[in-house]
C-alpha cells in the first residue's frame, strides 16, 4: 500500500471535503524550478542546512552531530555512503557510556561480518540458503541459554550484555543478509552504515537496509536538491505536528483532565474503575496521542535520511484516512511493517500453500503480523526475560500475544475482502470506513502493552467496562 505522495481517496468527494483532503499547509517547494536550482548552489545548500539544523535543534538535543554529518553528505555527495558509515560508527562508539559497551558493539559487528561472509562463501549450503532463519534461531537460542544460566555464574552478565546488545542490532544484520544475493550488493563497510544509522533508529531499521538505500540514493545534483527539499518539508511538518501535540496535551490532559490510559487501566485493575465514558476518553486520547508521537519521532529519522540524500518514504502518513485495517497498519508505522513483510511475510508467501490463494495469504499474514510481531517485541524487551526468567516473561507476554493474534486476524480479513473503490460519497466511501478502522485500532490498543503488568483478563475487564459491562 502506498504511503507516499499520491493521496488515497475513495472517490473524489465534492465540496469542502474534497478541498480539505487536498489542503496543503506546506507548499510543494521541490516542484518549483527556481527553488530547486537555488538548492543546488553552495549558498542554497548552506541555507537548507542551517534551516534544517534549527529544526533539529527544536526537536532534539542531537542536532549538532547530526548537522555535522549532514553537512558532509551534502557537500561530498560522491562519498555519501562512506560518510554515512563513518557517522554511524562514530555515533555508535562515542555515545557509549563505557569501553565495555564499545567492545560489545565491535564483537557484534564481527559476528555480522562473519555471518555475511559465510553466506557469500557457501550460498548453496543450508546456512547460505536460509541465513535469516539461522540468525533468528541462533539469537533465540542465545536468549534461552542465557536465561538458563545461574545469576552467580561468571558468564551470566557477559552473556546477557551480549544478548541485550545483539537485540538492538539483529534486524539490521538481517537486512544485510537479505541483501546477500543482490548483484549490486554493498560491501560490509557500507552495510555497517545502515546498522543504527546516524540519523537515528529504533530496533526497527530506519530506513530498512543497504539495498533500499542504494535504490533511493540521489544520483545527481537536482535529485539531491529535490530530496533535501522534501526532507526540509518533512521536518517542517513534524514541527507543526509537535506544536499541535503540545496544544493537544494541554487541552486534553491539562484542561479537560482526561486521565492517562495506564492510569485508567490501573484503577480498573484495583476495582475502582473510572466511569465508562471517562475510560473511552482516556483510550481515544491515548490512541490519538500515540499517532501524534510516532509522526514526530519516526518522521524525524526520515527527514534526516532525506537530508543525507536518500529519498525515503515517510514512516507515518495519514493513518486516520485509512479505509482498511491493512492500510492503517501500513500507514501507521511503515518501516516496522516493511520489516515484518520482508522477514516473515514474503518468505512464507513464496514458499507455502501455493495452490490455495486464501490459505497462502492468511498463513503469510499470520507469520508476519502475529509471529514476527510477537518475536520482534519479545526480543526487544529482553530485560523482562532477565528479570522474570524465560517462563515468567513468556506468561507475562500473553497480553501482547493476544494483540498479535487479533491484529493478524483482522489484517487477514481485511486483505481477503474485496476493496470497493467505487463506494460513493464522502460519508460511505471515506468517513465511515476510516472511523471504523480507527475504532478497531483504538480498542486493540487496550491489548497493546508489552509491559507485563497485568494478566489478559484485566485488559478484557477494561474492554467490557467501556461498554458499561462490569465483570
Amino acid at each position: 500500500m502506498s504511503i507516499s505522495a499520491p493521496a488515497v481517496t475513495a472517490q473524489p468527494a465534492s465540496g469542502w471535503a474534497n478541498r480539505l483532503a487536498h489542503l496543503r499547509l506546506i507548499p510543494r517547494i521541490e516542484t518549483y524550478p527556481s527553488v530547486v536550482l537555488f538548492a543546488q548552489t553552495d549558498l542554497g545548500k548552506l541555507v537548507m542546512l542551517v534551516l534544517f539544523g534549527l529544526g533539529l535543534a527544536y526537536t532534539g538535543k542531537d542536532w549538532w552531530p547530526l548537522s555535522i554529518w549532514l553537512t558532509l553528505t551534502t557537500f561530498l555527495p560522491d562519498r555519501r555512503r562512506l560518510i554515512v558509515t563513518a557517522g554511524t560508527l562514530s555515533l555508535a562508539y562515542l555515545t557509549q557510556p563505557s569501553v565495555h559497551k564499545a567492545i560489545l558493539i565491535t564483537l557484534i559487528l564481527v559476528v555480522a561480518g562473519v555471518l555475511l561472509r559465510c553466506a557469500a562463501l557457501w550460498p548453496r549450503s543450508l546456512y547460505g540458503r536460509r541465513p535469516l532463519a539461522f540468525l533468528l534461531s541462533g539469537f533465540v537460542t542465545l536468549v534461552v541459554l542465557a536465561s538458563c544460566i545461574s545469576a552467580d555464574a561468571t558468564i551470566y552478565q557477559p552473556m546477557w550484555d551480549f544478548a541485550l546488545t545483539l537485540a538492538t542490532y539483529v534486524w539490521f544484520i538481517g537486512y544485510s543478509l537479505l541483501d546477500r544475493n543482490a548483484p549490486d550488493r554493498d560491501g560490509f563497510t557500507l552495510q555497517v552504515g545502515t546498522y543504527r544509522p546516524f540519523w537515528g533508529s529504533t530496533n526497527t531499521p530506519f530506513v530498512k537496509g543497504a539495498a533500499y538505500l542504494r535504490r533511493i540514493e540521489a544520483r545527481h545534483a537536482e535529485g539531491l536538491a529535490v530530496t533535501q527539499l522534501k526532507g526540509l518539508k518533512l521536518l517542517t511538518w513534524l514541527i507543526m505536528v509537535s506544536f499541535f501535540g503540545k496544544f493537544y496535551d494541554y487541552c486534553i490532559y491539562d484542561r479537560l483532565h482526561v486521565p492517562l490510559f495506564d492510569h485508567a487501566l490501573s484503577l480498573s485493575v484495583s476495582r475502582a474503575p473510572l466511569p465508562w465514558y471517562t475510560c473511552w476518553a482516556s483510550l481515544i486520547a491515548g490512541f490519538l496521542g500515540s499517532i501524534i508521537s510516532i509522526t514526530i519521532w519516526g518522521n524525524r529519522f526520515v527527514a534526516c535520511c532525506r537530508m543525507a540524500g536518500f529519498n525515503a518514504l515517510r514512516n507515518t502518513y495519514r493513518p486516520l484516512s485509512s479505509r482498511t485495517v491493512a492500510e492503517f497498519f501500513n500507514r501507521y508505522y511503515f518501516y516496522f511493517k516493511e520489516l515484518l513483510v520482508e522477514f516473515f511475510f514474503y518468505p512464507t508467501f513464496l514458499r507455502y500453500f501455493k495452490r490455495n490463494r486464501r490459505l497462502r495469504l492468511i498463513t503469510a499474514t499470520f507469520a508476519a503480523a502475529c509471529f514476527g510481531n510477537a518475536l520482534f517485541h519479545f526480543c526487544r524487551d529482553l530485560t523482562f526475560v532477565q528479570k522474570l526468567g524465560l517462563p515468567g516473561a513468556l506468561v507475562g507476554f500473553q497480553v501482547y500475544l493476544f494483540y498479535c493474534v487479533a491484529l493478524a486476524t483482522a489484517i487477514s480479513i481485511s486483505q481477503l475482502r474485496k476493496r470497493d473503490p467505487n463506494a460513493a460519497g464522502f460519508i460511505r466511501g471515506q468517513l465511515l470506513p476510516s472511523v471504523s478502522v480507527a475504532l478497531f485500532y483504538c480498542l486493540l490498543d487496550i491489548f497493546g502493552s508489552t509491559q507485563r503488568n497485568y494478566p489478559l483478563t484485566e485488559h478484557f475487564r477494561f474492554l467490557a467496562h467501556l461498554f458499561n459491562i462490569n465483570i
Binding site: 500500500m1 502506498s2 504511503i3 507516499s4 505522495a5 499520491p6 493521496a7 488515497v8 481517496t9 475513495a10 472517490q11 544475493n181 543482490a182 539495498a211 533500499y212 535504490r215 533511493i216 518514504l313 491493512a326 501500513n330 511493517k337 516493511e338 513483510v341 520482508e342 511475510f345 514474503y346 508467501f349 513464496l350 514458499r351 501455493k354 490463494r357 495469504l361 503469510a364 486483505q415 476493496r419 473503490p421
Partner: protein, 83 residues
Amino acid sequence: MNQSEEIREFVKKLLALKGDRQPFSDSSSIFLSGRLGSVDAVEVVVLLEDRFGIDFAEIGFDQALIDSIEAIQSLIRTAGTRS
C-alpha cells in the same frame, strides 16, 4: 493483448484500486516510489507465478525485480531463458 500490455493493464488496475490514476511509463517506479505497496506486490507475484511460471521461492524475491514494467519484462525474459 501482448505481454507488456497485459502487465501494464494489471498494474494500472492495481493503481486505480488505490485511487491513483496518475500516468506511468514503462520505466516508472511503482513500488519503491510508494505508489504501490507490499500487499500489491503479492498480486504481481501471483500474476507472474500463474501466467509466466516464475518461481520466486527459487530465484529469490526482491521488490526491485518488479518495480517497473521494464523490470517485470526483464524478469520474465530472464526466467524464460533459465527454464
